[in-house]
Assembly symmetry: C2
Homo-oligomer: 171 residues x 2
Amino acid sequence: MSVKHGILALLRDRPGYGYQLRAEFEESTGSTWPVNIGQVYTTLGRLERDGLVAKTGEDAEGHVIYEITESGARELADWFARPITQAQRPRDELAMKLALAVTVPGVDVAVLVQTQREHAQSTLQELTRLKVRAAAPHLAWSLVLEAQIFQAEAEIRWLDHVEERVCRTNG
Amino acid sequence: MSVKHGILALLRDRPGYGYQLRAEFEESTGSTWPVNIGQVYTTLGRLERDGLVAKTGEDAEGHVIYEITESGARELADWFARPITQAQRPRDELAMKLALAVTVPGVDVAVLVQTQREHAQSTLQELTRLKVRAAAPHLAWSLVLEAQIFQAEAEIRWLDHVEERVCRTNG
DNA sequence: GCCGTATGTATACCGAGTATGCACCGCCGC
DNA sequence: GCGGCGGTGCATACTCGGTATACATACGGC
């Protein structure tokens, strides 16, 4: 979903080709999410199939150039207007794991929570360090980084909450 | 990933068959995440292929029964011991969208943030209502629900933060 | 008897993501 | 000069998560 709309957004700015789109895509998210080049081509293929982009031929260097279509621009505008809903998101792996852990017998939930919290805390420290160190932060990059920070904090808060609830339940 | 380990966890408790495993899986997460039955069978197939579960034949009613293998139990124990890392998680759709929005020209970031926050707030209210209304809450269910609440709160906090940063940048 | 629903298994299909193959080109060292 | 090496660029094969659907059986109500 995201790579698809990312490519559309980049193509709305100006036409481009696969390899270049990957670089722009990664740069626009502050190189936080590496994108496999193969995925760019398959996504471009699907977008073309669905009439959201079109091949315009080749440029002087022989690159296969794509441009956005009217239909693609509409889809992009819709996407920006639509909020991201809970339903579109994948399952929360951690919540799932803990739900399983408290359901099936023989799992030490306290240890699990403890391990996860230690991990989350070191992740949070690492992210904070990255943020502080950044000399001339790219806006998109720092927004993504801060999203990860807020999420890590929420995870730690939730783990504290879980620990309290589970301990109270057990004793 | 999660369905795979969920099935392993359920099978460690006792052997079972596809349809039953789906019901148990959904119940263990408080019916928060519906699982398509087809996925259960394909996952069981892959688990069998990899030697993590094994068919034991049929029970009295003719159900195809699977049981966990030693190797499967090891993998499950490993999974519970391993923390969930950032890398295993999928891209954050919302962070991605905003990173794109501030990068490509012609997107009204303020409106986007506003729309998303309204949506997140109504989601949060809905989740809170669910939590309060729950008469005899299942532990796993309420943990999952609370995870969603903590995440929605973090999202709203982050959106406030983004708004402040973007406004400051623009004016 | 027959229709609708729940139970149960299995397969086809699609999209996201990864690995890999293949070709071209420019640079650097010998 | 030339042979290796790394960057650029395109394309395909493959796996996995997830959905839809086909198909069969059993059971209960009209």
